[in-house]
Symmetry: C2
Subunit: 480 residues, 2 copies
């Protein structure tokens, strides 16, 4: 695909985002299928890194992967009242299969709590079968009206963990454990700081007692819900009759959890770190951490330069850009847009001096270094870049988090914010967790993002709407 200019963030953040996604070979709209995208090679490779990082943490915490059917009998969705209400408007329905009209239609899974409920009721009989800890990597479908690549697409890829426990206490421990796994990957792999907290009642998952989330701040100040972990209580246990015999010999309903992150994470990654030159990938999620661009003009220079490039590439596990018929300039431009953390150039002059040139993607810094220091310098640069990107994002979050003590203050701060123009803030305010209060924020299109697990602010205070005393401030923001 031809490379076009990238719209600057300051001009139009939403268009900038789309340009970065397209030019970074991350994804493109599928068009022919409403609201879908194609995940392209660079985007899918980032997803593979995230999958690996998450999956090893899921396994280390005792979960096993399984695969459940894509199709769900329509009647299943209706067994949990809140759940069907939440998902019914977004369903894609299969009514014909094998050339015949189906007696009972199937829906394509928007999430799998119902089918998990069905199988848990088959698999769980006794407390000895608990906890049951499973996860699946899968595609799901939700018929969304307004879509944006990675952030909200009709079909998306995700993982969904589903667990069953013998007590509410143990289930809650699981919910919080997995929230922290997500926080760990977001911060320590993706270099994306997040606020861990409880969703307000108005914003919880359809069918849950309580939902937890990690919320990140994008460069335009908008919030992105990057992962959720739900305490399902006994709602699905009762709807699907998942009972177990307790140690005491009593028949009880299981306590369930579910938790998920999706390809949406990649949207968050992009909007946290990328710049007006294109994609910036933190080294730990970059499929290619380094690329070597050999430079030569005359044919007799080619051999020695390529030889040195291949040797250096082996020493640091980098890719050599061997493409003929592309100028070095075009190659630099290409890898910059793909977000490669470190690009190394080597030409005849460097070769003669025993040097290479090392360019760091986020700062644009160019350094000439002796070849024999490359391994150390390369790893050091990757570490520094990872640390610096996180620090920068954390500073941005701190700088754009403000407190407000009245609805008018909240409104004044958030009123003019749009995804395109930016200027968004996280507003910390005392607000009682009541759907009626959340509704008041709709007027200026803000929502309660979550009630942070750790209260970094000033403790209890009076609700800005009702005056009632509440234990801590909540995060109010405009969000994707």
């Amino acid at each position: 695909m031809a490379e076009s200019p990238i719209t600057p963030r300051a001009k139009d953040f939403a268009t900038w985002y789309q340009d970065v996604v397209l030019q970074g070979d991350m994804a493109e709209p599928a068009e022919i299928v409403k609201g879908c995208m194609v995940i392209k090679p660079n985007g899918y490779a980032v997803w593979e890194v995230l999958q690996r990082e998450l999956d090893q943490r899921f396994k280390a915490t005792g979960h096993q992967n399984v695969y459940l059917p894509l199709l769900i009998p329509e009647s299943f969705l209706k067994k949990e009242a809140e759940h069907v209400e939440g998902f019914a408007p977004e369903l894609a329905v299969v009514t014909i299969a094998g050339g015949k009209k189906l007696e009972e239609p199937y829906v394509i899974r928007p999430t799998s709590e119902t089918i998990v409920g069905h199988f848990f009721s088959k698999w769980i009989q006794s407390y000895r079968d608990l906890p049951m800890l499973i996860n699946q990597w899968a595609n799901v479908l939700r018929w969304e009206l307004r879509t944006r690549m990675f952030l909200r697409t009709t079909e998306f890829l995700w993982q969904e963990g589903h667990t069953a426990h013998s007590s509410h206490e143990e289930a809650l421990e699981e919910v919080v454990r997995m929230l922290h796994v997500y926080g760990d990957v977001a911060e320590n792999v993706m270099a994306m700081p997040v606020i861990r907290g409880v969703k307000s009642r108005a914003e919880k998952f359809a069918g849950a007692l309580q939902s937890y989330s990690i919320e990140a701040m994008m460069q335009n100040g908008l919030a992105l819900q990057a992962g959720t972990s739900h305490d399902l209580g006994q709602n699905f246990g009762k709807a699907f009759d998942v009972q177990f015999q307790s140690k005491e010999g009593k028949l009880e309903y299981v306590w369930q959890t579910s938790w998920g992150v999706s390809t949406r994470l990649i949207g968050g990654l992009i909007m946290t770190h990328s710049d007006d030159k294109g994609l910036v990938l933190p080294p730990k999620v970059a499929p290619r951490k380094g690329v070597i661009v050999p430079i030569y003009r005359k044919e007799e220079e080619r051999g020695p330069v390529m030889e040195a490039a291949e040797k250096l590439a082996l020493s640091i596990g980098a890719h050599v850009d061997r493409r003929d018929g592309q100028t070095p300039g075009a190659k630099f431009f290409h890898w910059e847009r793909q977000g490669v953390p470190v690009v190394i150039e080597i030409g005849p002059r460097d070769l003669a001096a025993g040097n290479v040139v090392l360019k760091r993607r986020d700062t644009g810094t160019k350094e000439v270094i002796p070849q024999d220091t490359l391994v150390a310098k390369f790893n050091e640069t990757l570490d520094a870049m990872q640390t610096d990107l996180f620090a920068k994002a954390r500073q941005r979050l701190a700088d754009n988090t403000v407190t407000a003590n009245s609805l008018e203050e909240v409104r004044a701060i958030l009123d003019d914010v749009t995804a395109e123009k930016g200027g968004g803030k996280f507003v910390m305010a005392h607000l009682k967790d009541d759907p009626a209060n959340d509704a008041m924020l709709k007027e200026f299109r803000a929502t309660v993002r979550n009630i942070p697990l750790e209260d970094h602010y000033d403790g209890p205070g009076k609700c800005i709407l009702t005056g009632e005393k509440v234990p801590q401030r909540v995060v109010i923001a405009k969000a994707y």
Copy 2:
């Protein structure tokens, strides 16, 4: 789930297979969704190993992973005449989405050649864009009437490679390259010998010029098509207008290939190696290569035995079965059915003597060895088991491959074979590649499996049906 007896192979092969799948925690029928299964933890873990082995080979041969939409506009399927004829009867159709009847229904992908055709036409303009080498890991749906877990299910997991080339010659090289990648994984990872060959015209993929396959022999002598690689010629290029400007400046249609293996491989794995005690997994595909079962009766024995078990487990990367309330006997039984290659037991007497007991799954051999030789002996046993399982399967293939020189001979050999009773053979016969001849074999439910790439037999001969001279014998067998 309670463990039940496994039906012996000799009594009923099909029931034996189902028992092994269920008792080995590999899968179970989903029932609520016609012809679907749930892939359970042990089955999914095997799939993860196969994915890893395949994926690294795809990447090493220059392919990149992408993800394409699950839904395909119905009209796309109709653009390639043979393709729609082949797949139309098996489609699941989405007619309602987001609460509304769709103007144009979508089908759930049965395979993605059509959607790939659409995107290739957007992505490919010039010979510089070629070859284009992509792969996707995905679920697909084909509404099948008769299903068996792993072997044929309505929904299954697979990978589908799709490539575009500037010449037919280069495309054919790709087709054969990927066939050999499949053969390599089948034989050198799964220890499942296969015959690489060309499908007869009657059996080729709907829309291909020619299809290649790997065919394996199950323990009942039936054939299993374990992977296919297709030369699509310019069929999809023309249907979806995928043209490129050649080096000479001419506009030409691309030459495409596609190739896939699926969770069906796991069915082949099971029917190649497992026995009347349950699952047998070759070490290279076993998610857990070794498990240590600690044995103790008195409480004071527990500490020292567990300590030794944990230490030994670390040295060989094995899992310790720490479950309380399960007898050692129940634990051995459990891991045997899960196909764990090597189970190690250690009790107070072994501890006193400085020994451990090592049991090999396929042969049932038990060896008492000094603890300090465990690492070497463990690895040696895994290697030997891998080699022996392959040799045994290869011998079975050789022993059950026979030649026939007339239709009557073919019939006599294959007439009484059923999946349940076994007795199947691969019959090598001279047969002209003509759908009319394939049709003659239908009478006794046999098919031409493929025309082997290497003619191991006796060269040219007369077609058993038409008397015409043909270059080599083909494989005729009953198949899954």
